[in-house]
């Protein structure tokens, strides 16, 4: 059976909305009918990648519009979880990010690494008026 879920979220680009976005991700993970693995682990992972990607959109890519927003979509279709986080900033070269050194004491630079560890496919692309970080994971 084809369990198709789509959720589209727009919130002010402020970190106080991170927990709402993360919770919606957790709620989706806990609802999935066909997922056989550890549901609470998946809930944490979805919460985490949503939180990391949205934080980056807020921090590094704040729009200059008077009431800037972040836009996130979460979809489940045919065993594929796809998360898209849109930003209106200058963008960055995701292929040029150094992996954090093991036992690095750097305070930053673990977000994209975590996203890559958890998700199966991660791309960052230019769009009209901004960029999108697209992350996919095969649930199965």
């Amino acid at each position: 059976m084809n369990e198709h879920i789509e959720v589209d979220i727009k919130v002010p680009n402020q970190t106080r909305y991170l927990s709402l976005i993360g919770k919606i991700g957790e709620d989706i993970a806990r609802t999935l009918k066909m997922y056989k693995g550890n549901r609470e682990e998946l809930a944490y992972q979805i919460n985490l990648v949503l939180t990391e990607a949205t934080t980056n959109a807020i921090r590094h890519a704040s729009a200059e519009s008077p009431s800037p927003h972040v836009h996130i979509t979460i979809s489940i279709q045919e065993q594929t979880l796809r998360i898209r986080v849109f930003d209106e900033g200058q963008g960055f070269d995701i292929s040029n990010l150094p992996a954090p050194a093991p036992q690095s004491l750097d305070e930053h630079g673990r977000g994209v690494y975590l996203i890559r560890s958890i998700m199966d496919r991660v791309t960052y692309r230019q769009l009209d008026g901004g960029h999108v970080l697209e992350m996919e994971k095969t649930l199965g």
């Binding site: 991170l18 993360g22 939180t51 807020i58 954090p100 004491l105 750097d106 673990r110 977000g111």
Partner: protein, 111 residues
């Protein structure tokens, strides 16, 4: 951010009373730790028992506290990690950096 801070025999015990430690509140945790360092405290024990979720900013705040404590010849240790939170330290290899204890007692005794 809600933190219960108490002092026990030269160690400051900080109990984080939040479900999430993320980019929204990790700056505040960093600031509270900095205040303690400025008051001359150098040994911190962070109890994460109420924390269900930590992101990379939360880890970053703890790393910042760890570096500050070490630079003063003190230490920052952790206790009470829920299992999913613990996995975050493993995924980022930070479990090799921090001393992590199950409960407060053992942790306090280790300073």
């Amino acid at each position: 951010m809600m933190v219960n801070t108490t002092e026990k025999g030269g160690v400051v015990l900080m109990e984080i009373r939040e479900e999430r430690l993320d980019a929204h509140n990790s700056g505040d945790l960093k600031a509270q730790m900095l205040n303690l360092f400025e008051e001359g405290k150098i040994n911190l024990l962070i109890n994460l028992k109420d924390v269900r979720f930590v992101d990379s900013s939360g880890l970053g705040a703890l790393v910042s506290g760890y570096k500050n404590a070490s630079a003063r010849n003190g230490n920052l240790k952790l206790c009470g990690l829920q299992s999913q939170v613990k996995s975050m330290f493993e995924l980022t290899r930070l479990h090799r950096v921090f001393e992590i204890f199950p409960g407060t007692e053992e942790a306090l005794a280790s300073f």
